[in-house]
Every structure is written in C-alpha cells, then in structure tokens.
C-alpha cells in the first residue's frame, strides 16, 4: 500500500479548514510492519481514518491519493469501496474494547464481516471459521456464544483482532491496539500480532506513541509531527541514527532500562493545533536546533541511504544532525539547548512546558477533531 501526499482537512465550526494531515507519504510492502509514531494530535489516527474512509462528516481528503496493490483506493466510488473494505484493509480500533456491540454475541459479530463480503458462505462454514479465528488469537472457541461484557479487556482486544482477520485481509491497521491495556496484556497482544503477521503474511500499520512497541514489532517507522512527516526509515536506522531533532527527543523520552535511573527528558511544549499552523518547520518552537531559517522555510524531505528520509534543516547533506553548538540558534532554542546540556530544568517557553511524550496513557481522543462537531 502506498500513501502519496495525503492531505486531510477538517472544516471547523466557523467554516475554516484545518489541516490535520498535511502532505504525508509512505508505503507499506506486503508482509511488512510499519509503525506510525508521534505525539497525540499529530495526525496518526486521522491518517488511518482517511485510509479506511472513516473520517467524520466534517473531514475530507483534500488532495493526495491512497494506492493499494496498484489500484487507487481513494478514487473508488463509495459502493465499490464498501465491497473492498475489510477484504483488503481492516482496522483494529483505538480502544477496541468499545468497538463491540454490547448486546450481540461476540461470535456473531466476528462472523459479520464474512456474511457481508461472502454472502454464499453457509452458517456452518462461518461458524467453523469463527472457531478457527478464535483459536488463532487464543480464545477458546466455545466462548463465541458469550457477550462482550463477559470478556476482559485483553480478551476483547483479541476478539477485535479475530474480527480484523475475518475476511483474510492483506493489511491490518492497528490504531493503538494496546492502549488502555496493562503491560502484560500489551505484550501478549503484540506478540500475537507479530505471530499472525509471520504466519499469515500480513502487512501491518501500527499506530502508537510508544516507541518501544515500534522497536519490538515493526520493520520500519514513520515519525509524524503536526500532520507532516518528520522522519522515516527502518527501525534500526531510527534507533541508532535518528536524524530529526524530534525523533531524537522522542527516543530520549523513553527511559532506558539499563541506563542511569534518571527521568526521561521529554519534549517541552505541545504539538501545534491544526487550526493554527506554525510557519516554517512545525517543530521549531520546541526544537533545540531551531535556526532563523526554520521559522521561515518549511524543510523539504531528503533521502539518506535505504529508505531513510528526513525533513530538517539542521541535517547536513551527508546525513548527520548538526550539534546545536554548530548552528546559529534562535534565542529560545539556545536556552533549551543549554538546559539540555547542563541538565537544568527546562526554562519556561512561550508554549506551556509539558513532558508531552512521557505520558503513555495520553490518548488521541481529547484531540480528536470529531469532538468539535
């Protein structure tokens, strides 16, 4: 699958458009797992909703295209697209535990996509496949006659995964599939998805703000910031040689299990709101590498090595992130850089100072554009 220059706009209450996703491009190969990473509100979920055409009424794909297996998905008419749903691309929702209908048996719900897309399927065959799917995700098949309230959160997540696989799709989008689950269950679910990917040759797009999850399960990652691509590359490239200051900071926000017992650095400030876009590079108000150029010009994407792309002015043409001391920094960035170097508290900036990426329970919901409806 390939996403090309995708732009998603929401019409706000006052009629102005707000760009939640602004020209993002990436591709996912067959059988590949790609992580879509970024803070809350940077357009990850919106990208997923755009791919699956589940944007709320006030949102639309303003430009760009989505291709699946050489066919332009975004150009299909609604009815043709409806028939392709779930058979090509299925999605495991954020907070999937609420995505089950409370008054219907889970087995019937898992079977429903099959009934929609394969009308010739007999009752017995559908039941057999539900039993297989349950077995695959580690639920005993007898439980298909139970109702969602009889399942625990992790089990419901497994049911959702079983449902996502019901029509044997080639790509599954997991929108924070492990949010709101405890760490043990998270690990089980991720392991399950990893196993299914190997066994069924699925391609997976994993949307998360948890870099450790991406490092464990994905081949490649796309780091998004404020609706734009900051950096993309293989997980090892991003981990060993992150180029964008945002990626560097994101990685710095994860506590190191072997390192010193210090609190992770975090990133001061919050991502900009899509209805008040920042000029130039969108990250510059929070960046400790920010130069005057970053305020005026948006950085273009540049490629370094195999599939490693980054959009940042501070990266040299050889593919090295210059140190802040080598750059003609902006005053605010200089303050941040000194603070980082000396280990002092982050000085109060124009934007509220928050360790934004450090809160794993923070959820996209509060920034969901749907709320404005």
């Amino acid at each position: 699958m390939e996403v090309r220059d995708l732009v998603v706009e929401f019409t706000m209450g006052d009629g102005r458009p707000a760009r939640a996703v602004d020209g993002i491009s990436f591709e996912v190969d067959a059988g590949e797992a790609v992580g879509l990473v970024g803070e809350s509100g940077c357009g990850k979920t919106t990208t997923a909703l755009a791919i699956t055409r589940l944007l709320p009424d006030n949102g639309r794909i303003a430009s760009g295209s989505i291709w699946f297996d050489g066919e332009e998905l975004s150009a299909l008419d609604p009815d043709a697209f409806r028939r392709r749903r779930w058979t090509d691309v299925s999605i495991i929702f954020q907070g999937a535990m609420n995505a089950l209908n409370p008054v219907r048996r889970v087995g019937d719900q898992v079977a429903e996509p099959m009934r929609i897309h394969e009308p010739t399927l007999t009752q017995a065959a559908a039941l057999a496949r539900v039993a297989d799917l349950f077995e695959m995700v580690g639920i005993s098949p007898e439980r298909r006659r139970e109702y969602p309230h009889q399942f625990s959160g992790g089990m419901r997540q497994r049911v959702m995964i079983a449902m996502a696989l019901a029509c044997r799709p080639r790509l599954v989008i997991g929108d924070e599939p492990t949010t709101a689950l405890d760490v043990m269950v998270q690990a089980q679910i991720l392991e399950l998805m990893e196993r299914l990917r190997r066994d069924l040759g699925l391609a997976i797009i994993l949307i998360t703000h948890d870099l450790s999850v991406v490092a464990e399960t994905c081949d490649r990652a796309v780091v998004m910031y404020a609706g734009q691509l900051a950096e993309t590359g293989s997980v090892s490239q991003l981990h060993d040689r992150p180029l964008h200051p945002y990626s560097v900071r994101l990685l710095g926000s994860v506590p190191d299990i072997r390192g010193a017992r210090i609190l992770p650095e975090g990133i001061p400030g919050q991502p900009p709101s899509p209805d008040a876009p920042v000029p130039g590079c969108r990250f510059h108000p929070r960046c400790d590498h920010a130069m005057s150029m970053c305020v005026t010009d948006a950085p273009g994407e540049r490629a370094f090595g195999a599939g490693h792309r980054v959009a940042c002015h501070a990266v040299t043409d050889e593919g090295r992130l210059r140190r802040p001391s080598e750059l003609p920094l902006l005053p605010s960035a200089a303050l941040m850089a000194t603070a980082a170097a000396t280990g002092a508290d982050v000085p109060p900036a124009d934007t509220p100072v928050l360790a934004a990426a450090a809160d794993p329970l923070d959820d996209d919901a509060d920034r969901d554009p749907r709320v404005t409806r």
Binding site: L54, N101, I116
Partner: protein, 333 residues
C-alpha cells in the same frame, strides 16, 4: 473487565437475562400485580371463548334480564348473554391492542431508527412527517380515518396503528442518535456493512429494549383508543369489543334503567388491563435501567456493613470477593 468474575458459561447468558427480568418483576409488588392481572385477562381471551361457546344470536334470551346464575351479567336489549359477550370482547380488545401496537412499533421503530441513523435530510423529512401526525389530535384523526375506512376490525387496527406511532418514533430516534456515535457502529461501517445492515444488526438490538418497553405502554393506549372509538360508534361492527358493549349500553340507557351489570364489567375490564400494562411498563423501565434497580435494591438491603461493629477499623478487606453476609458472620465470630 470486571465481568470476568461473573462470567458464567456462555450458554446461560440469555437465560440469565430472563431470570434477571423475572427477578425484577417478582421483587416489585406493583409489577407483579400487573403481571397477575394481565395473565388472567390473557387466559380469559385465549381460553374463555372455548368455554362459553359462541355469542348468542339476537333474541336467544329475554332482553334486559338482570344478573342471575344463568346469566351472570344479565342480557342486553336484543337478549344476548352479556357474560358471554364480555368474554369474547376480551379477546377482541386484547387482539386489537396487541396487533395495533405491534404495527405501530414497526412503523415507529423503522422511522425512528432511519431518521436517527441516516441523519441530515432524511432526519429532517422523516421527523417533519412524524410531527405532522404528532400534532394532529389523536382522537380526531382516528375518528376521521375510521369513518373514511369503514367500521371493520382490520380498519380499526390500522387506524390505531397510524395514530400511535409518532411518539415511539421520537423516542427511538433519540436513542438511535446516541447509539450511532458508539464505536461499534464505526467498526461495522469499517467492515463494509451497509446502512441498512447497520440499522438492523447494530442499532436495532440496542434499542430493542426501549421498543419493548414502549410497546407495553402503547398496548394500553391502543386498547383505550379502541374502546373510545367503539363507544363513539366508529369501532368494528363485525365483532364485539368492550367499547361496543359500552356503546350499546349507553344507547339503550342502561344507566337510567339501572342495568349496572351491562356497563360496569367492560368498564372495569378496560381500567384493569390499562393499569396492568402501565404497571408492567414501569417494571420494564427498571429492567432496562439497571441503575434504577441497584439503587432500589441497595436502599432496601438491610444487611449493609456495620462500621461500628468492625472493631474500629474503617476499612477491612477479608476476602477478595464482595462482602457477603457470610463473611460478616465470620468476622463477628
């Protein structure tokens, strides 16, 4: 998540729900009374006609007899036994109430769910259509329709169904509006379900309880309306209902004649049946809104924890389960 502890083997799920509902009805004296009254009337409606035989032909007995062992409610002006007539009328009145409410539920739920789910222009048009019927005075509309369609049983059922659905449609629509925003509807859309399918498979099961609760109240209304229509002379002329008996007694001046057994039994029957359905409707409210249930149960529960007896500790947890009377006994001993 917490439900795991109560997770009974799945097969018992539905039976459990029935049992729960019955427990609520049994626990509430009023709704129990409603069920008892209704059961009695249903038995009369189903079995009664077989026991008493067909309604007498005109002039089978002497007209205007007073109640006696031979004719429990006496006879009417044409000499029909009124007890027999009332038994048959029970069947007709309940039948009209049931079928008419069923029809009105289908119309009301259909329009309510469509308007709520489809939204936008559909919602606007369907709701204006509903409002149109809603603002017309029910009785006037029913009278006009009944007069136009003609006085048969089927027509009366249709008339009642047409006048009773708008209230249901409004209630169902508002419930649908909240269901529509739930995530499982998005999920169903993502799986490629059509709007019709989502309405049928996702929305309907979720509003069904409300539909059911509404039906009980609508049945009472329908029976009442049928009685009124019959009393006003536009009811079915091909069968006897309580309303028709009342109409005939009124026309014959039963009140001035002192023939109380002619008009009291059908009147009491209407009151009792309407009362029964209202009581059951209240119980449905409780079944559908477990919060209401728990509050009541909690208030009535005398076995709450006695803090003073717990030896001064404000909170003590002795077993991982919710404290039962047993665990309190253990603490005491």
């Amino acid at each position: 998540m917490t439900a795991v502890s109560t997770a009974a083997p799945g097969r018992r799920g539905r039976r459990h729900a029935w049992y729960d509902s019955w427990a609520v009805i049994r626990g509430n004296r009023q709704s129990l009374l409603g069920v008892v009254i209704l059961t009695a009337f249903v038995l009369i409606a189903v079995l009664g006609p077989f026991l008493v035989g067909p309604i007498d032909k005109a002039a089978a007995n002497k007209p205007l007899l007073s109640p006696s062992m031979a004719h429990l409610f006496g006879t009417d002006r044409s000499g029909r036994d009124l007890f027999v007539t009332n038994i048959w009328a029970t069947r007709i009145s309940l039948l009209v109430g049931l079928v008419a409410s069923l029809l009105s539920m289908i119309i009301g739920a259909g329009i309510g769910i469509s308007a709520g789910y489809l939204g936008g222009r559909w919602d606007a048009w369907l709701m204006r259509f509903t409002d149109f019927f809603y603002v017309l005075p029910t009785l006037v509309l029913a009278l006009v329709l009944a007069a136009v369609l003609g006085p048969s049983l089927t027509n009366v059922i249709i008339v009642i169904a047409i006048t009773a659905w708008p209230a249901t449609a409004r209630v169902i629509r508002s419930q649908t509006l909240t269901i529509r925003e739930r995530m499982f509807v998005d999920r169903a859309r993502a799986t490629g379900a059509s709007s019709l399918r989502i309405m049928r498979r996702q929305v309907l099961p979720n509003v069904f309880g409300l539909v059911l609760a509404n039906t009980t109240l609508t049945i009472a209304e329908a029976i009442f309306l049928e009685t009124t229509l019959s009393f006003l002379g536009v009811g079915p002329k091909d069968s006897y209902s309580w309303g028709r008996i009342l109409d005939e007694s009124f026309a014959a001046g039963a009140l001035t004649l002192g023939k109380w057994a002619w008009f009291v039994p059908p009147g009491v029957a209407v009151v009792l049946v309407v009362l029964a359905f209202t009581l059951i409707g209240a119980a449905f409210d409780e079944i559908l809104d477990p919060r209401l249930r728990r509050r009541k149960r909690g208030a009535a529960d005398p076995g709450g924890p006695d803090v003073t007896a717990a030896g001064g500790s404000l909170l003590s947890i002795e077993s991982p389960s919710v404290p039962t009377s047993e665990s309190f006994d253990r603490r005491g001993g």
